[in-house]
């Protein structure tokens, strides 16, 4: 094997994989390495037994990781995501999926119900004028005001008088003060339409998100979001890797990188100075020869400390619609013995919901014993997306944390798990037991600011944002920025493999 590559990518997470696929399709020789024996890195889709191995492995470093229950039979029929998320029907990520053709490697369906936990019961969140019309929970006046807000949010609000001077007001306050919405409605909009994580999140970024999601509704169906089969993100990352391989990329899984060296071009091995001299040499476990490249792209976590400070860290340039910086996510994954059906609070007048992927939002302060500042998202998954065998369901519970928490994930999330189980069990007669569950804290690497004297050609990709609706779009934006920087460090050449090949085109819809 020729050991000289244009680009070496470390880590097969979603962002890195999109970048690798883009570079490969643009004609560059790419080698893609991951120490794990599976694709997707921290966003991988794992079978249940693989998940438990992953949990046990993490328990060694971190004693607050807990797991309960035994791995059931048919463990391989589960596809569990380490980063549960939904895909907005309009946005840079779906555009990448479509333009690159990677959508063909996977299957997708619409997200089902989005409900909010309010006063101990679940309420549907109106997403359109017709939902508002049919709602039995709002007064006539409230309906008028909510519609007025939705029209405002779907239009060009940037220079509107309503927004003037209020951009940094928390969205909750903005909705109540300027649009005179009730507290309950304001909560539903803030947390289950704008998907804010914290009680203090400001108006302008949330409005941007709301506008996109309102426009996204109707593109593929009534929901603004799609969910991927087989656990979502990990499966999609694998799709991008497949696209990279089709373009000639080389894959090395299950091997760690033992050393990364910056190559001295004036050394004796390189008697002639040419423009395509390697800049980096990578030593891979059990590989006799070093791999060389002119551009090294790595996930932040896989880069050794000394190189992390020298790397050009790609920052998402989405300040106007960025999510707040998260310190950590408390996570719980629970396997339920029985189909997960959320109870309806009103007589169903529309089409019955066949999708078993749904989203349940607990606003801050809505649950006794829960968080007063963080919203908690519960995503359900089941056989509808081939994520679980028939008759079983998966619950993903996530709580974003703005700072270090003294509590373990289990202490933070147990009340939510208990509440959800009560809600599901109220719907059916039989007791639904838990087959197994795990609690862990996902700490997100703090993004370091790039130094001005970073090494040319060394790019660090931040971890995938765990924001449930915005994460994948941020990944696409970062991947595009990384791609551009990589290309410019490779002297701006974009060789076409063949003209008829699909181009990886990035574009915000």
């Amino acid at each position: 094997m020729d050991n000289h590559f244009d680009v070496i990518v470390l880590g097969t997470g979603l962002t890195e994989s999109i970048t690798a696929a883009a570079l490969s399709k643009a004609g560059f020789r790419v080698a893609h390495i991951d120490p794990n024996p599976y694709y997707g890195a921290d966003e991988a889709s794992l079978s249940l037994d693989e998940l438990m191995q992953w949990v046990d492995h993490h328990k060694e470093d971190n004693h607050s990781v807990t797991r309960y229950g035994e791995v059931p039979p048919h463990a391989r029929q589960y596809s569990i995501s380490l980063a549960p998320s939904v895909i907005p029907s309009i946005g840079p990520f779906i555009s990448s999926l479509v333009a690159s053709g990677v959508y063909r490697y996977g299957s997708f369906k619409l997200l089902g119900r989005v409900v909010i936990y309010d006063g101990g019961i679940l309420k549907d969140v109106p997403q359109s004028k017709d939902d508002i019309f049919q709602s039995k929970a709002m007064s006539l006046l409230e309906k008028r005001r909510v519609t007025r807000f939705l029209m405002f949010a779907a239009g060009e609000f940037e220079n509107s008088k309503e927004l003037h001077g209020q951009e940094d007001l928390p969205l909750l306050d903005f909705l109540q003060r300027i649009f005179l919405l009730s507290e309950a409605t304001a909560r539903a909009i803030t947390y289950a339409l704008g998907y804010c994580c914290f009680i203090s999140e400001t108006t302008l970024p949330a409005l941007h998100r709301i506008r996109i999601y309102l426009k996204a509704s109707g593109r593929y169906g009534p929901s603004s979001f799609l969910v991927g089969y087989y656990g979502g993100s990990g499966e999609i990352a694998q799709g991008f890797c497949r696209a990279a391989a089709v373009g000639g990329g080389v894959y090395i899984l299950g091997r760690s990188v033992t050393r990364i060296l910056s190559v001295d071009p004036t050394g004796p091995e390189y008697p002639v100075l040419t423009s395509d001299l390697p800049r980096f040499a990578v030593e891979v476990d059990d590989f006799p020869d070093r791999l060389h490249c002119r551009c090294l792209i790595s996930s932040n976590t896989l880069l050794p400390g000394h190189l992390r400070t020298l790397a050009d860290v790609i920052h998402p340039s989405i300040s106007s619609c960025g999510s707040p910086r998260l310190f950590a996510m408390a996570r719980c994954i629970a396997i339920v013995d029985g189909p997960i059906i959320l109870p309806l609070d009103t007589k169903d007048s529309g089409a019955s919901d066949a999708s078993d992927s749904s989203l349940l939002v607990f606003p801050p302060g809505s649950l006794n014993g829960g968080s007063a500042i963080s919203a908690v998202h519960v995503m359900t998954a089941g056989p509808g997306t081939m994520s679980a065998p028939s008759g079983k369901g998966i619950l993903y519970i996530s709580m974003p944390l703005p700072t270090n928490s003294i509590h373990s994930a289990e202490i933070l999330l147990r009340p939510y798990l208990a509440a959800v189980l009560v809600l599901i069990q109220a719907e059916q007669q039989e007791q639904k037991g838990l087959i197994c569950s795990t609690f862990y804290m996902q700490e997100l690497a703090l993004s370091t600011s790039s130094t001005s004297d970073s090494l040319v050609g060394l790019l660090a990709v931040p971890s995938l944002s765990p924001h449930i609706t915005q994460g994948v779009d941020e990944a696409a934006i970062i991947a595009e920025a990384t791609f551009k920087k990589a290309v410019s460090s490779l002297n701006g050449e974009i060789k076409e493999i063949n003209p008829g090949h699909e181009q990886m085109c990035f574009g915000l819809c």
């Binding site: 019309f133 008028r144 529309g350």
Partner: protein, 352 residues
Amino acid sequence: MHHVKRNRQTPEALAEKKQREKSKIDEFLTLTDDVLSRKKKQEWSNDAFELTQRLLQINPESYTVWNYRRNILLNGIFPQSTPEQINSLLSNELSMTTTALKANPKVYWIWNHRRWCLENVPDGPERNEVPSMEWRQANWDKELFVTERMLDADARNFLAWNYRRYVLANMPTRRPEASELAYTSRKIGANFSNFSAWHQRSKTLARLWESGQLDPIQSRDDEFELVSNALYTDPDDQSAWIYHRWLIGSGENKTQLEREIQLIFELLQEQPDRCMESLVHYKRLLLQNHSPDSQTLKQEYQDLSLRLSAVFTVLPYCAMVRVAVCSNTPVLVDNALDTCIINKAGTVWSHN
């Protein structure tokens, strides 16, 4: 179709298209000549039948050719066929026109042809030597299903709604009115900006009230509640206002009228630019029917009318005004109001 934009093409693209179409046009003209000459000779052959099919596939809007086709069936093919054969021929016609309808959902002649087919389905098959209604029932049921599919594709296709009324009225075994009411509820729930669905609802309700299946007073109150949801959710939507106007009727029920006026007044506070016209009209009804001597009411009405004429110069608010002539009304103000509305009719009655 509603909400489907017209395709604008460049002059070069248009010229290219013309070239490609030239050979098609020639073929079409030859075919047309052939068919029409046979028609003139009153030829009812199978060949002619095939030719009409080809021609109608290209141009389903040629009602002459549809007519010719029907005549071929009546005069040439049916006399030589058994009832079973006739039934299957007509079922075939219906399938063929379904495909044509999908591409051309608003061509009257396709709908007409279907009507003719349905009306000519023979009695049968024979059960115990007595001809049953089964063929007819099957075809009419299917027809109702077709209208539902058409309305799923475009809930505001007025031809489909009209046709649906025809089917419901002529089916061998009628569907209960209550199920039609439920159908309109479904359609309105899916998208309440649908004048045709509200209109259908009004027709269905009228029949239900008349036949005594629903109590008019309670039912009206239920309807007011339903439509007020639409008014409040989107006061810009005309269909809800027109339905509301129909519910009020000539304003005989004083309690209803006062309650609705109050409701609209509250909406007016919330949304000052939308409700004036209906408010004025209803106040006038109240005045005319119930308190023709009330000076306070007369004053309120005049104030509102003046506000309305001011509003009209600025905003093209649209809902029809029924000029209810009554000798008790203060004539002077009435005239001014009517003139105002008629003058502004062009801008008042806007889009949709």
